[in-house]
């Protein structure tokens, strides 16, 4: 392994990157340029992720997203509670994200992990969470009761790369299936101005979060450079990410009927990206997600139920 090639792409989160030798790097770059990556995919093709939805009975909604090889495996659980809204936004609910990594067995891994989870958490919080759900829909009684959605992500394996994408897929799958109890508000009577709420414990009356089918997903476009020519790929593996000089996280809204639309953009990584390239990135992203939709199959649940 050649340590100098890793330091060339040094940035603050160098520790996360897989170490690649110069020959591996050449191989990957050449493959991406020719449109045939190391696993045979084209530049805009996604991997086939599997999901199991609704596993956890204690959560309001849950999903597991993983690759068939088990290189990436993420669990997402959504729990909801009633809270008093913030005074600055009395008619809006709250959505909170927390990320946990499975403890690695190696002794040196501890420092990296807290950095990793904080970074992932804050990126998700700032990038994806504001667009996930219309917070006004989470309001029950303005000034008194709103829903707070606690999204907990547990990363079991992150070796497959594109962790942000996988987490956002998991959040989307879990939210789509989350059922919130039906709540009816009885206006306050007499003296107090605090209304009482009645929670309907009948599960048939529970409903999904309104508007959650439009919850956006993060698609990460990795930028690699061969000589002076930039190459754009989507859904990068860990090795491809290590060769990338920058990554753009695009928050994409894939509503059923409409064209996919971009909600937010975030540039990660240390490399400089010229502005014209950014436009290329966004059009590439729209193209990629339009043509090859991210396939997440939900059939595993029944398969496992029968056999275990």
């Amino acid at each position: 392994k050649n340590p100098s090639c890793v330091s060339k792409m040094s940035s603050s989160n160098n520790n996360n990157k897989v170490a690649v030798s110069t020959s591996e790097q050449q191989y990957i770059l050449q493959g991406c340029q020719d449109g045939c990556r190391s696993d045979g995919r084209s530049r805009e093709e996604f991997r086939h992720y599997y999901s199991i939805v609704g596993d956890f009975d204690l959560s309001y909604g849950s999903a597991r997203v993983f690759l068939s090889t088990g290189e990436s495996h993420v669990l997402v659980s959504v729990k909801a509670e009633l809270v008093v809204p913030a005074t600055s936004a009395p008619e809006e609910g709250v959505v909170d994200v927390h990320v946990d990594f499975m403890h690695p067995q190696t002794k040196g891994g501890n420092n990296n992990n807290s950095n990793n989870s904080n970074e992932l958490e804050s990126t998700l919080l700032n990038l994806l969470v504001p667009h996930l759900v219309d917070k006004k829909e989470l309001c029950i009684a303005p000034d008194h009761y709103v829903w707070k959605l606690n999204i907990d992500i547990f990363v079991i394996m992150s070796g497959g790369g594109s962790l942000l994408d996988v987490c956002s897929q998991g959040i989307h799958a879990a939210l789509k299936q989350t059922l919130l109890p039906n709540i009816s508000v009885v206006p306050a009577e007499g003296g107090g101005d605090r209304p009482t709420i009645q929670v309907d414990s009948d599960i048939q009356a529970a409903k999904k979060i309104p508007g959650v089918e439009n919850a956006p997903v993060v698609v990460t476009v990795s930028l690699l450079r061969m000589g002076k020519i930039p190459i754009l790929i989507v859904d990068a593996t860990a090795e491809e990410e290590a060769c990338a000089f920058a990554q753009i996280h695009v928050v994409l809204d894939r509503s059923r009927d409409a064209e996919p639309t971009i909600c937010a953009l975030h540039k990660a990584g240390g490399g400089a990206v010229p502005f014209a390239l950014l436009q290329q990135v966004t059009s590439f992203c729209l193209e990629a997600s339009g043509s090859s939709r991210i396939v997440v199959s939900e059939s595993m649940h029944h398969l496992l139920q029968d056999n275990f």
């Binding site: 204690l58 959560s59 068939s68 090889t69 659980s77």
Partner: protein, 170 residues
Amino acid sequence: RRLIEISHLLKRALEATILLQLYPKSRIQVQVVVLADDGGRLCAAINAASVALVDAGIPVKDILCACSAGYAGGGTDTTLVDLNRQEESSHAGQNAVCLPCAMLPQRGTLVLSQCEARLPDFVTMDRVLEAAMDGCRAVFDILQAAIRERASVLLGMRDGHGTVVNSFAV
């Protein structure tokens, strides 16, 4: 702090069942991740760990099983088995009677037994302990059935039957 205590108890319970003399100068590391908790955390951890050991192929004296039992005093005088979180939690200032117990079911020996609350007398304690041990035996049936099923699937794979679907052997 609670977690440290639970880890310690888990360690001691597993030490009682693993044939450690076959592994001199080595360390067996068991990692338990709690995904959801509705009470009975320690017992679930012990059960999961003991099945995981069997799945790993580590020789054990017996499949360690754990179950908790409790006692609802007041007027009712009933023993409860497998307490959930509400039943385990202390209320009205007193600790709830919760006795997680682990045993080696085929040998009938008790490995772990812990209770931090007051019980009225020895007779009640015997009853609660007996209920916990019955619970352990019931858990043993389930664990054993799961292990046997898994073993038959794996043996079938060796002979060429069965398929691997997305890293789960079916």
